[in-house]
Symmetry: C2
């Protein structure tokens, strides 16, 4: 299992997928040995795309060290709470 | 790591999330000890939602045994190939 890390995290949002792919690839190419990709809700699919594209097209010897899923509670405008799923993908060279 | 299993697979598609939640919960309640949730592309987010909702609201002692991501090659109408990410979430009682 991967240890909890606070460095080298790439958060997936609504930008084009390739932006995040390049962000992850750049971190590895600058000497980092592990990067964590995090996403919530609908961005979870993009997070998996990013991990797969980096592995298949950019950094050959990359491994998926661990994948964790969880539920986060978001508080809306009127204090209304809603649950949203999240994912963490730990990539390691 | 989970072993490869061909039984007890729930494929996530475009139906309402709760349909899949009930499909997974029903399998566990009928005595099954492991269920695999599979999804591709945009349905990956729904797959994580399904796993989290079953774990948090339906089956208390459920564990995420393993999560795997991969890339599948789909052939389009004119023989054009495209890559799509996929996820497998292995749940275990």
């Amino acid at each position: 299992m991967a240890e909890d890390k606070t460095d080298n995290i790439v958060y997936i949002g609504k930008k084009p997928t390739m932006n995040y792919v390049l962000a992850v690839a750049t971190q590895f190419n600058s000497g980092t040995s592990s990067v964590t990709i995090k996403a919530r809700g609908k961005s979870i699919s993009t997070a998996v795309d990013v991990a797969e594209i980096v592995r298949n097209r950019f950094i050959q010897d990359l491994k998926v060290d661990d994948i964790r899923i969880s539920t986060e509670v978001l508080e809306g405008e009127e204090g209304k709470k809603s649950n949203v799923s999240s994912i963490e993908i730990f990539l390691k060279k």
